[in-house]
């Protein structure tokens, strides 16, 4: 349904001594999402996951690559012709309060996409607001309120209602629960799952929260410095992570109870920005499993099992060479 091929986004930056350099925020990302499916896009700040989302919707102009929705090209289309595509791809943003116009009653904000995309007259769309508010579990009376008069959870429900208003087939969820209280997060997670089951929507779930991705996503793509480093079905990736970065992320999640034992994979330092990055592995300086051989050839995303791919030279070598053992926390014989 949605296909992303070799998506790139580069920003010019000025390096030391005024040299022109390029920040590779998104560097050759390939994705595919089917109807009714959730793909989790996981990574830390600076991994390019949010930029990927914005480029897919053309809120930012990709520097390269192709995005198609149901076979129709989203990239390379003029803004005016983008409108019918925009109707089908909606987004829920991280901070609900920031994503709602502070000076417009929420009912009008939910109604806007309905009549702006020509799905109903302006008058009719006001009626549908009530139905949409009901769908996201809010009373219809709230339509006249302003965003700041609602709680965070209610604001996010409004944002979801607005995203659903033009009857899209694909939703991008950009950290949909990150700014909410724990007890409210769970409500939103349930709501999102319910809506997907009911409407067979495709979700791209952008999040740093592995637990959230684990619950909602069918497949998961892990991003590091603009590249996808691991891809696979959520259960398999969680059970047997191949890339050291995925292992580090998974092991960094806090314990569920104090007496739980957990093997931890520590990365060194913090991610640098991908400014004119090398072809070789980008995690190498931080990776606890790094070997000199890692830098001998470009790190490429390569399939190694049905539905699974990884961008780790050492893993691929050892896995194909049969020396790999699935011991949590230690790849192969090393570490």
């Amino acid at each position: 349904m949605l296909r992303v091929d070799g998506l790139e986004k580069r920003y010019p930056v000025r390096g030391a001594a005024g040299r022109r350099q390029q920040l590779h925020a998104v560097d050759g990302v390939d994705l595919e999402i089917a109807a009714g499916e959730t793909l989790g896009l996981v990574g830390e700040s600076g991994s390019g996951k949010s930029t990927t989302g914005r480029c897919i919707l053309r809120f930012e102009e990709p520097s390269g690559g192709r995005v198609t929705l149901d076979g129709v090209s989203v990239t390379g289309t003029r803004e005016a012709q983008l409108r019918p595509l925009r109707r089908k791809m909606q987004m829920v943003y991280q901070d609900p309060l920031d994503s709602l116009n502070p000076r417009m009653p929420i009912g009008r904000q939910i109604a806007e996409p309905i009549w702006l995309f020509g799905l109903a007259t302006r008058h009719e769309s006001d009626r549908r607001v009530g139905e949409l508010l009901d769908l996201v579990g809010l009373p219809a009376e709230l339509a006249h309120r302003y965003p700041h008069q609602l709680s965070g959870g209610q604001q996010q429900r409004v944002a979801i209602a607005r995203a659903l208003a033009p009857e899209p087939s694909f939703l991008i969820l950009d950290e949909p629960t990150a700014s909410l209280d724990v007890s409210v997060q769970a409500q939103i997670v349930r709501l999102l799952a319910e809506i997907q089951a009911r409407r067979r929507l495709a979700y791209l779930l952008i999040s740093h929260d592995l637990a959230l991705v684990g619950v909602l996503a069918h497949r998961v793509a892990v991003m590091y410095l603009g590249q996808i480093v691991e891809l696979g079905a959520t259960d398999e990736v969680f059970a047997r992570p191949a890339h050291p970065y995925t292992r580090a992320l998974l092991s960094a999640a806090p314990k569920d109870t104090p007496d739980q034992e957990r093997t931890r994979v520590f990365l060194v330092g913090e991610p640098a920005a991908a400014i004119d990055p090398p072809e070789t592995c980008r995690l190498h300086p931080r990776c606890p499993f790094a070997a000199p051989s890692c830098l001998e050839r470009p790190a490429e995303l390569q399939g190694f099992a049905p539905g699974r791919a990884v961008r780790c030279v050492r893993f691929l070598d050892e896995h194909l060479g049969g020396t790999w053992t699935w011991v949590p926390g230690s790849p192969g014989t090393g570490a």
């Binding site: 809120f59 925009r86 109707r87 987004m91 000076r103 417009m104 996409p113 700041h148 944002a159 033009p166």
Partner: protein, 277 residues
């Protein structure tokens, strides 16, 4: 909104003082035909330069016109200048600033360099030049006071717009199917207006001052029009002779009106900010 306004005014008595000042001035000016005991242009040479008395509350000027009546009528003209000039400046300035900020690129460059040119001159000198070129009349006075303020609004609008243009709700509005012009008009501009309203109130006071100044030096409205600046000018030569009242009362009015607008401007800042409640 009303409840919040009353709360803010209660908590912020200075704003209330400013508001009361403006209300009194506006009501008095509007009710000038009822309140003024004499016509504003009613000359009476026999009554020239009378000091304040029960018959002439603020005395009379050299033509025997009643200063109190003229001050009342003058309020209409000065408020009209202030509001007219600010309205023109606000609408054209905001339009230019919005255009520049929203489209960016060369449009931004052209508009903002034009604004630089306007602001390169000391504003009063520029107003003098414009007024002199257009010729002295009430309409031209309003236009010249407006013109020198256009740049202020354009800059404010552009600066605010550059901030809100990248706000998530602006992106969200695009995603909701708003064409660019609608994003600008419906979603962005309403969120830029707070500092502009504040500025308008401050600028209204300042406009009265400029207009009075221009009239004072003969580039605004002409004698005998009842305008506070002109009236100050008429009496200024006679202050040394002890006939202070001709200039004093219109001068006080200018000061009070300017103060009123400034106090209200400060108060508006609190009221219009939805986050600061």
């Amino acid at each position: 909104m009303v409840a919040e306004a009353t709360y803010l005014l209660r908590r912020n008595p200075i704003t209330l003082v400013g508001l009361l000042l403006l209300v009194v001035i506006a009501v008095a000016s509007l009710a000038a035909p009822l309140l003024a005991p004499y016509p504003p242009l009613g000359t009476d040479p026999a009554d020239a330069l009378q000091p304040p008395s029960a018959r002439h509350l603020m005395g009379t000027d050299e033509f025997g016109e009643d200063v109190w009546s003229r001050v009342l009528w003058g309020g209409r003209i000065d408020l009209m200048i202030a509001l007219g000039a600010v309205a023109i400046a606000l609408v054209s300035g905001c339009a230019l600033g919005a255009l520049a900020g929203f489209s960016g690129g060369w449009v931004d460059e052209v508009v903002m360099r034009a604004m630089d040119v306007l602001q390169a001159f000391p504003s009063f000198i520029l107003a003098m030049g414009i007024a002199a070129a257009l010729g002295p009349s009430l309409r031209n006075l309003i236009v010249s006071v407006a013109l020198i303020n256009v740049a202020v609004y354009a800059r404010l609008m552009r600066a605010r717009l550059l901030v809100v243009k990248h706000a998530p709700y602006a992106v969200a509005a695009r995603g909701a199917g708003n064409p660019p012009w609608r994003v600008l008009l419906v979603h962005l501009i309403p969120n830029c207006l707070t500092p502009i309203f504040v500025q308008s109130s401050l600028q209204s006071g300042w406009a009265i001052l400029t207009a009075a100044g221009l009239s004072f030096i003969g580039l605004g409205v002409r004698v005998p029009t009842p305008e506070w600046g002109v009236m100050v000018a008429m009496g200024v030569a006679r202050i040394n002779a002890g006939e202070w009242w001709v200039s004093f009362y219109p001068g006080v009015c200018i000061a009070l009106a300017v103060m009123g607008f400034n106090l209200v401007g400060d108060g508006l800042q609190d009221l219009l900010d939805p986050q600061r409640r």
